[in-house]
């Protein structure tokens, strides 16, 4: 029994028979060199994928979720009515709204402070989904850059002008 087992194992681990052509390695080497030559010469659909960053920017696809923007209506007022839906739904708690009474007839409230902490935001787009007035949306702006943490907290003016 035991010897049978080892016999079986031996058969399993036996090295595959290789032809002399294979063992010379040379055909495979030539094939590989041909392949890399195609890459060097950029033939057969090979091309360089690198984006030369500062001069060229990567293409942003439609639907990309970048920085937020607060929308403005026809009369130049912010659309937001400070209902706090986005603040409630936000999974990373990055939206901070303080409401005040609106001076206009058609709504009760407007935001006095509307801050988004861009360092916390995960760009999930839930605020955009939750908004009943279609007042907030995610733009295709890709580069959220600043030199301090304070600058990364976007206020109402910044978001309106985004």
């Amino acid at each position: 029994m035991r010897s049978e087992m080892t016999e079986e194992n031996k058969n399993e681990t036996e090295r595959p028979r290789r032809s002399w052509g294979f063992l010379l390695y040379l055909p495979a080497v030539a094939k590989g060199l041909y392949n890399t030559l195609l890459h060097i010469l950029k033939l057969k659909g090979h091309k360089t994928f690198t984006v030369q960053y500062p001069e060229k920017r990567p293409e942003v696809r439609p639907g990309f979720r970048g920085e937020h923007r607060l929308k403005i209506d026809e009369l130049g007022r912010e659309k937001c009515v400070a209902c706090l839906m986005c603040q409630t739904v936000c999974p990373s708690n990055c939206i901070d709204i303080v409401a005040e009474e609106a001076p206009w007839e058609d709504r009760d409230k407007r935001p006095r402070i509307f801050q988004i902490d861009m360092l916390r935001c995960i760009y999930c787009g839930m605020c955009e989904e939750a908004c009943p007035c279609d007042a907030i949306e995610l733009t295709e702006k890709l580069y959220t850059v600043s030199t301090s943490r304070a600058e990364m907290i976007y206020d109402k003016e910044k978001l309106l002008s985004n």
């Binding site: 040379l26 080497v29 590989g32 060199l33 392949n35 890399t36 030559l37 890459h39 060097i40 950029k42 090979h46 091309k47 360089t48 994928f49 690198t50 030369q52």
Partner: protein
């Protein structure tokens, strides 16, 4: 001015020119390597420093010069500092015997082949010493592997060269090239010896697919794991110069050296200039092959490497010598 002094001065000028040439070629080679590997991997490679990134090697050297030199705690300090020099110097001085143009070489040695072979094999001391002196297991393994590998492949390489010498009937490198200019390149007479020499040259220089001495995925950096700054730079430079020397030897022995093939060289300085140009073009072609192969093939396993060296190349080279001997003696009617 007496003749001795004139000879000495001429020799000094030639030495300076050729040494300067290979010292310029080595950094450009690093650059070429990075650009070609980038092209193979569908990348761009360094293109920011200077026009088309051509000043990148200069930036690298400046960076290396300003890096902190670290010598490991229990390293053998003397050997540790000596090793990069031992890797660099033999590679640089073995170039003197190679005819880079018609009657143009630093030293016209009548045993040129033997000289180049003898000096290039000294390079392994630098690698082994570096591996030993670092007091690190990775370095030591790299050094040991490198010496084992170079010893194995040196034999195959020497035997491949023997068959070249049998055909050309000379060990003087200039005469071998002249023989090829008259009778055609030796690669057409000795394709097997050419392949053996080429592969052995890769192994001698610790280039992929035989870079057992460095072997990043297994040995961190191999023999230069512990090296920093310009000491590392010297190893690096030595490796590339050794590559240039091996390619030059390959061109001289198999690819007709400075022979332009399609036309007769005119007499005088113009002909010499053309011959240097021809040699350079062939040299660059072989160096391109080196780089091309490096970024194509995976590394051999250590036992496969040894098996290939001892069980395939040495017997094949010996067989080649026997066959060459028989053919040569039949053709010349001697023996």
């Amino acid at each position: 001015m007496n003749d001795n002094l004139q000879d000495f001065l001429m020799g000094a000028v030639r030495a300076a020119a050729i040494f300067g040439g290979i010292m310029t070629l080595a950094p450009m080679l690093v650059m070429a390597e990075r650009r070609i590997c980038a092209a193979i991997q569908n990348r761009v490679g360094p293109n920011r420093v200077g026009p088309m990134g051509l000043l990148q090697p200069l930036a690298d050297v400046i960076k290396l010069l300003f890096k902190e030199e670290i010598i490991p705690d229990r390293a053998d300090r003397t050997l540790f500092s000596l090793a990069p020099l031992l890797a660099f110097a033999p590679a640089a001085i073995s170039f003197v015997a190679i005819p880079v143009g018609r009657d143009l070489q630093v030293a016209d040695l009548n045993v040129g082949v033997l000289y180049v072979l003898a000096i290039t094999s000294l390079g392994v001391y630098g690698i082994s010493f570096g591996g030993w002196a670092s007091n690190s297991k990775y370095s030591l393994l790299g050094g040991i592997r490198s010496s084992a590998q170079i010893i194995s492949y040196e034999i195959a390489m020497g035997l491949a060269i023997v068959s070249v010498l049998m055909i050309s009937g000379n060990v003087h490198l200039g005469s071998i090239v002249e023989w090829q200019a008259e009778n055609g390149w030796i690669i057409f007479y000795q394709p097997l010896a050419f392949i053996i020499f080429l592969v052995a040259a890769f192994a001698e220089n610790n280039r992929l697919p035989f870079d057992m001495a460095e072997c990043e995925s297994e040995l961190v950096g191999g023999f230069h794991t512990e090296y920093t700054g310009m000491k590392f730079g010297m190893f690096f430079l030595g490796e590339y110069i050794a590559m240039v020397v091996m390619s030059a030897l390959l061109v001289t022995l198999f690819l007709g050296g400075w022979d332009p093939v399609f036309f007769e060289l005119p007499e005088g300085a113009g002909g010499t200039a053309i011959s240097v140009l021809c040699f350079t073009v062939k040299l660059l072609a072989v160096l391109f092959l080196y780089i091309w192969v490096r970024w194509t093939l995976p590394r051999f396993r250590y036992d496969q490497l040894m098996k290939l060296g001892w069980k395939a190349f040495v017997p094949l080279a010996l067989l080649n010598i026997v066959l060459t001997g028989i053919v040569v003696s039949l053709l010349t009617g001697t023996g």
